[in-house]
């Protein structure tokens, strides 16, 4: 079980790590802006496709799951995939 702030972006890290070939290079930062939580996800350059997918299909699925989590707290979520 996770402790403290880490638990917050746990879910995104878990999903990203499960999809990429280099899980050790998955980095997630979280910025709270009032009612919106912004996540910045970065992965190894060769893994970008693994988290974005064809036409952004994978990225959309990741966003949907994150949205569900924060909907319970009445918060909006933005997941940015950064290089």
């Amino acid at each position: 079980m996770s402790v403290g702030g880490f638990a917050m972006n746990d879910l995104l890290t878990t999903i990203a790590r499960a999809l990429v070939t280099k899980p050790e290079e998955v980095k997630v930062t979280q910025i709270d802006k009032g009612h919106t939580v912004v996540f910045e996800l970065s992965v190894a350059p060769e893994d970008m496709g693994k988290v974005i997918g064809k036409g952004g299909k994978r990225a959309q699925a990741i966003r949907n799951v994150m949205k569900a989590k924060y909907l319970r707290e009445g918060k909006r979520v933005v997941v940015d995939i950064v290089e």
Binding site: M1, D10, L11, T14, I15, A18, L19, K57, R58, Q60, A61, I62, N64, V65, K67, A68, K69, L71, R72
Partner: protein, 239 residues
């Protein structure tokens, strides 16, 4: 030997943590039933309720599994196993992680039939993981199939159901399909159904496959692709 204990705590998470610690099992191996959600209680915190959970786990099976695991880690090279069962294990573990990440506690069951891994989740408060029109469920399902296929050479299909949503939806779709078909027979004109996901369209095509006097096909582009029920002899479902 199966053991069941009931624990209470300030939050559901805390109660579960206490219970699995006492049983000496991991959360994944335990069947967790939330008896009382707990909460802030009434005015000024008067009547604040504690969360209560009932946790059941097969204590022997767990220790046996730990043995197997340590064997695996200790002797990596010679461990081959069944690729599909590894895919199943990874898929189930992934679903469990996502659900607990979202904050849902429930019971996971899985089995494999041919190339499909069926995973079903039952628990209270599943709605969050289903989402509007099953959108969240579809996303979890899609991500899980990506993860499962990372561990399998042959393509494995994931069929994920949460809180019986898919099953319920399936019977609704079959009902809609039959109603559309009888309308087609009465009027002699085609009926276009509402937009559906590929898996939902598959259910409709399949339901009307042997329905005499109608045929089905799909029109439009995703995500607005729809099944059309047309008069004609019952043919093969086209996708």
């Amino acid at each position: 030997m199966e053991k069941t204990i009931t624990k209470s705590g300030k939050t559901v998470e805390e109660a579960i943590a206490l219970a699995i610690e006492e049983l000496g099992v991991s959360e994944q191996d335990a069947v967790i039933e939330v008896i009382e959600e707990g909460g802030s209680g009434g005015f000024l915190g008067i009547g604040k309720k504690e969360a209560v959970v009932k946790v059941t786990a097969d204590v022997d099976a767990v220790s046996q599994q730990e043995d197997e695991d340590s064997e695996y880690y200790g002797d990596d090279e010679s461990f081959e196993g069944d690729a599909v069962s590894q895919a199943e294990e990874e898929a189930v573990a992934f679903v469990a992680e996502i659900l607990s990440g979202i904050g849902i506690h429930g019971k996971l069951d899985s089995y494999r039939e041919d190339d499909t891994i069926y995973i079903s989740v039952t628990g209270s408060d599943c709605g969050t993981a289903i989402g509007r029109h099953g959108e969240t469920l579809d996303s979890i399902s899609y991500l899980t199939s990506l993860v499962a296929n990372k561990y399998s050479e042959e393509y494995v299909r994931i069929s994920l159901d949460i809180g019986g949503y898919k099953k319920k939806r399936e019977s609704i779709l079959v009902g809609l399909a039959n109603r559309a078909a009888s309308r087609v027979l009465r009027s002699g004109e085609s009926v276009e159904m509402e937009a559906m996901s590929p898996s939902e369209r598959r259910i409709v095509h399949f339901a009307l496959q042997s329905y005499d006097g109608v045929s089905t096909h799909s029109v439009g582009e995703e995500p607005n692709r729809r099944v059309v029920v047309a008069p004609g002899k019952s043919g093969d479902a086209e996708e």
